[in-house]
């Protein structure tokens, strides 16, 4: 056996919807499609060299997060209104969610990603940490600071 990695199509079948949901939360509907393509192409390029296949979803979401950060950098870190919340949203945001997601879009990248992963995808802290490439404690802190800031903004 040269490799024990599953066929890449399996990753697409199982995680494409999740990745799109994360990206819609992070960069809005318009930017999400570009970021989605960049995410899967980057993943496809790197895939044969991937050493650890224990959390393929976390790996993809990490890449998606980087592409979202690139997207925001390219747009000069302007806050991006988010018209649509992730399709797989588990935790329904406030009824008046436009304002909330507008505020989420204005958070610093790490806090924004943490909040999006937590509330749009309902990921536990450990997986948020995986996706952000930081410790669970740091993920918890980003999430906490993000929420604190949102409370202040929206009060």
């Amino acid at each position: 056996m040269v490799s024990a990695l599953p066929p890449f199509q399996v990753l697409i079948d199982e995680h494409a919807a999740n990745v799109m949901a994360v990206l819609r939360g992070a960069v809005g509907r318009e930017g999400a499609e570009d970021c989605f393509q960049e995410t899967f192409l980057a993943a496809l390029r790197a895939y044969p060299q991937l050493q650890d296949d224990s959390n393929l979803r976390g790996w993809l979401i990490t890449i998606a997060h980087r592409k979202a950060v690139d997207h925001h950098r390219a747009r000069g870190r302007r806050p991006v209104p988010v018209a649509e919340v992730a399709e797989t949203a588990v935790t329904d945001p406030e009824p008046n969610d436009d304002g909330v997601w507008l505020a989420v879009g204005a958070l610093p990248p790490k806090q924004r990603a943490a909040v999006t992963l937590r509330f749009a995808l309902d990921l536990p802290h450990a997986e948020i940490a995986d996706a952000l490439g930081c410790s669970p404690e740091a993920a918890r802190r980003s999430l906490h600071e993000g929420i604190k800031r949102l409370r202040k903004e929206l009060a």
Binding site: A4, P6, P7, I12, A16, E33, F36, L41, L44, P48
Partner: protein, 191 residues
Amino acid sequence: MNINASLERVRERAAAEGLLDVAYASTDSPFGPLLLAKTPMGLVRLGLPNQDADELLVELAAKISPRVLEAPAALDEERRELDLYFDRKLDSFDLPLDWSLSDGFRLRVLHQIATIPYGETRTYTEMARGAGNERAVRAAGTACGRNPIPLVVPCHRVLRSGGALGGYGGGLPMKRGLLTLEGVLDESPPG
């Protein structure tokens, strides 16, 4: 643009960038669905209806590359020729093949098989002889049984010396059906 349109763009860009190591698609046949898999070199694997498609893709990921993507458009010509073949409108495939799943004696046997014309048959002994070892009849049979590209490499045209059908990876009814389609066997079901 929905998620499928985005995925279609990913496939197009992957192909343009040379990242489509294994493209696959399924196609219908009178015997059931076939799985076709292709590398940039050509058709590398054809899964018969009785073979598990998921297992086959896992095997390709391990043996060739994990960059295995469903990409029907990449296999348009293969599907077109197979459709014509099953309609009796094509008696010789003109498709690039990737032989990399076979080597040694088995590969030589498969090369022999590839030269058997439509509507004709040969014996396992003839295949063994043509591959350079007339006594390796059993090994020639194994090579037929492990043919990664059946139909296109027509191992269904190889029979036992006495005229008995021998074996077939897709099951004997399919072998009988293919030989009937090609006019080797009579239309009437065997008694």
